[in-house]
Symmetry: C2
DNA sequence: TAAGATTGAAATGTCAATCTTA
DNA sequence: TAAGATTGACATTTCAATCTTA
């Protein structure tokens, strides 16, 4: 079965992409948990809450490419661990504004150095500076492409 | 909170990598299920079974960067849907040899054209050929680096 | 003892249904 | 009607404990 001629290259790229992302996530997550007590999923959500003013559940869902339901549950877990709060949103009573608690800010501050160290280890060190730049450029183009129609040329 | 100077670039690369992989997986998975009735997770496992002679559960786990427990359950699901079988392994009675059934082979054959079409759409079309090559080179280097020690130079 | 595999419990995500407010 | 959010049912993965065979 398997092949039919040329798509081999793309399958290899897909495989490398998915497998590397899986391992990268697992390794960084393990390091974060052991050294700062925060999961990588928690850290990602907290970074969004910290970055977006008057952050809502929907903002987290969009920033993390997860569903609204998943984002709501992620906020539940952060809140249950005392790292964030839902506050009334004066501008739209359907939603809440999510804010980090002092404990959440402390968690974030403690986790970021570990996170940055791991990113350096797994992304910067293995690549030439030029290749890292190209890698980032390609990822940016891929992420913004949205699998558009031909568009070609 | 947030930043401390330079790691911004790496955080952006990490974010683009994780978010793109998440969307890529979700989009291809949805297309595969609607057009061929196979999930992307199933397809990935079947590709490994098809490629590796006398494939065992452990081989699947390593090829897909998942745990052995997860691979065992993935084989359970494939087997429950009639796409693979566990056969006695004459060389080591602790393990089984996993083989595709005729239905599994048919599923794989039906899914591959859809898969390749989606890979073309999401990976090849958005990128210059040169950039795609660089992207593949970077991913290969990252995947084989294993977050090694300094090693430098 | 260690290697390969299985299993059940817990974490995290999707999906669909529902509720409240624009 | 539609938008934002929540909830419960379901799926998939990890982890730890366990079992069988090398």
């Amino acid at each position: 079965v398997t092949d039919s001629g040329s798509p081999t290259v793309l399958r290899q790229v897909f495989d490398d992409l998915v497998r590397f992302e899986t391992r990268l996530w697992a390794e960084i997550d393990a390091e974060l948990q052991s050294k700062s007590g925060v999961t990588l999923a928690n850290l990602n959500a907290m970074l969004v809450i910290d970055r977006i003013p008057n952050c809502r559940v929907l903002d987290i869902a969009e920033a993390l490419s997860i569903t609204v339901g998943g984002a709501s549950q992620a906020v539940d877990r952060l809140q249950a661990s005392g790292r964030c709060l839902r506050k009334a949103n004066p501008e739209d009573r359907r939603s809440s504004v999510i804010a980090l608690t002092p404990h959440g800010v402390a968690s974030l501050s403690g986790a970021l150095p570990v996170f940055d160290h791991e990113l350096d280890r797994w992304l910067r060190r293995p690549l030439d500076p030029a290749l890292l730049t190209q890698f980032g450029t390609a990822l940016g183009a891929l992420r913004s492409s949205g699998g558009d129609a031909p568009a070609a040329l």
